[in-house]
Symmetry: C2
Subunit: 473 residues, 2 copies
Amino acid sequence: MKLYEQLATELQHRIDTGLYLPGHRLPSIREMSREHEVSIATVQEAYRRLEDLGLAEARPKSGYYVRSRRMAGSLPDASRPAQRPIEVSQWEDVLELLCGNEDKSMLALGRGMPDFAVPTLDPLLRGLVSFNRRIEHRGLEYDSLAGTRELRQQVARLTIDSGCTLHLDDIIVTTGCQEALSISMRAITRPGDVVAVDSPSFYGSMQLIRANGLKVMEIPTHPETGISLEALELALEQWPISALQLTPNCNNPLGYTMPEDKKRKLISLAQRFDLAIIEDDIYGDLAFQYPRPRTIKSFDTDGRVLLCSSFSKTLAPGMRVGWIAPGRYRDRVLHTKYVSTGASAIAPQLAVAAFVANGGYERHLRRMRPQYRRGRDAMIDWVSRYFPAGTRMSDPQGGFLLWAELPGDIDTLELNRRLWAHKIRIAPGVLFSASGKYRNCLRLNFAEEPTARIEAAVRTVGDEALRMHDSLP
Amino acid sequence: MKLYEQLATELQHRIDTGLYLPGHRLPSIREMSREHEVSIATVQEAYRRLEDLGLAEARPKSGYYVRSRRMAGSLPDASRPAQRPIEVSQWEDVLELLCGNEDKSMLALGRGMPDFAVPTLDPLLRGLVSFNRRIEHRGLEYDSLAGTRELRQQVARLTIDSGCTLHLDDIIVTTGCQEALSISMRAITRPGDVVAVDSPSFYGSMQLIRANGLKVMEIPTHPETGISLEALELALEQWPISALQLTPNCNNPLGYTMPEDKKRKLISLAQRFDLAIIEDDIYGDLAFQYPRPRTIKSFDTDGRVLLCSSFSKTLAPGMRVGWIAPGRYRDRVLHTKYVSTGASAIAPQLAVAAFVANGGYERHLRRMRPQYRRGRDAMIDWVSRYFPAGTRMSDPQGGFLLWAELPGDIDTLELNRRLWAHKIRIAPGVLFSASGKYRNCLRLNFAEEPTARIEAAVRTVGDEALRMHDSLP
């Protein structure tokens, strides 16, 4: 064991035993160097190791702190959705959420929006400007149906980090991840088909299932490891399921990352039942662990995984730059892409490609991951403090979304209505179910740097929930 | 009759009787003023009238010329497609056309691309630049699902010219017209439904029909007035047709504009059979007549027309800015839009909105319409000269596409293959049919200012066609 590893292990022990308390400052690097008679570099290495383990965090100009740990036992139970294919409802509630976000005076605590008011995105904006000056008319042309070569090249390179070896011809650029999911789903299913999903599940893909006349089979999902493979296998034996759609990395809304061996097993299961998998990896590059988790696609040996992603969560959603690696379904996906929107807009593709090629993407992620981790810790802390006793929470391993389960029968749709007067919006849990489940759950966004304003808003949500809780029969 | 009208009538008579020959210069305004003892203004008015009638054209710094007239009797016959609902094929040929366009060394004579290398688009490019500097982060946000307010306002204003009175809330912005058509089709049909179309018909919407598991009923179409209402009525009586999709103004590929009274009658027929109409108006603003022709939507009293358009043909396709006025189907269209791509990219919307608001759009159209008219006349002239005797042609009333029907059994797919060696691509007629019709037809693009290079290419097409013609049994 190397010196820094020994030191890290020692420090981990002190944190585990409570010698260093969550939220407290760790000894300075200089103090630590003196105390343990090791070099400054070794202490730095050890602290970075703690950071990778999620035990400590660096705060600029202040030093290292012990990360707030979530209270043991407060995770939600594994979900228990309906054990049969059903139709998706809840569109009106989704629409309300989307419209609520349009009102800029509202604090949209529930939306899936990253923080993009950060200086590491400035080169991207400058890129859009200079691109328009330089390439002039190219932004006005139709381009390759599959997307610009420049962007596909960069995307192929990026996917190496998730264990894939893709060529640029394996990539099709789309108008955001929503089009990637939509095209994938339409390319491989026919109306009336049954699609299995994780549950709770992203409302965008569930509405997609609804719009395409499909039925959904919600698979019980564990808040730390994802869908139950046993339940999936049972479902595959009982029902004619044509595709599985899931978000295994930094799941929305639960935040878990499915373990690698489970991903491997899922691929075997899919091969056995000849199941196509639509893998949503939109939050994958925002994982707090290093290296980032592998995709299911990276274990795929016969092209049955359609990997969907975009730069909407890692960079900014308004660019509408997404992509699919469609595997064996390339021809059908390309046809569906053609009839859906034709080629995608050129200007944003070229701007993103240049931003990635120049290292701006990596720099931006290096800034955002710790910010989102701080946001998570603050949000967990606030929810623990201000929400009714008995509230359970997810333990997000990446991204910027927290899932909370309120005790008793607190209806979060009603809670959301009451919050309207406070100019606060949350995402009610019912949106994430095909059939009106998760009525006592909600999703919260912690993308922005923690501020007193957000804390006050979370407190208000908690107060209103408490009031509803107390008035329950 | 006003003085200028009298003069215009006199001049029209001289043109009709051959006193002034096609392609020749008309007397200068000053000469004309002296000869007829009327004011300069009156002559100008009369010449503008001739221009509106399509009899004369202004050439900058050179004066007015008699427009080249097409040879009488050389229009194609009304089409006679299959008299029953069929499935759409021909995707491989469409894909080949799209991929052929990606090779920049090819002269893509068949593509549906406007000329955008013109100075009147510079403000749009500058707008994209300054927008990115000014509005900064707004281009990164998700915006209203229906599109930015600024753009919807301008679109609503523009549709006044086509006889509509739409409010900005009646408009939904899309990613190009292809998404407008795709969303409309998916919102109002279910797989297995039958959709009626004009024939020949835009291959993009036919592939859309194919992708959605629909059947197509091709309606016989006259090259000067559009679909036969009698044939449509018969079809409606015989088959369960759920929607009609057509391009009544500056039709692609035939170039006709359906007369107003026929549009009125079509609306009555649609009401009688409770038929939804998807109206593609993408070329409508490029009509050579003034004022531009009305849309079918403008006669719609009960919201059954989904008007689809975009700025892809009037400005530039790479911006991917389109829109729908979905009438009574707004809710379903909005849902389909949400699941297809979410909101559309913000930056191009704001740039186009500013360009329209500042008058750049009108200025650009004022430049392009005469250019396309010159392009049409040159192309008709070349095809008359270089194509085999017996070739028939459309008489485009707007846009930049010519449809030619070759004599005998010249297969334009094969012609296209032979043209590959000459680095020339055409659009084979078979793409515009669901069932392999129009094998001896092709579409040509005349968007660019006529040049010797294009003339040489058209001549090469003609030569190859002649060679094939001569070798036919």
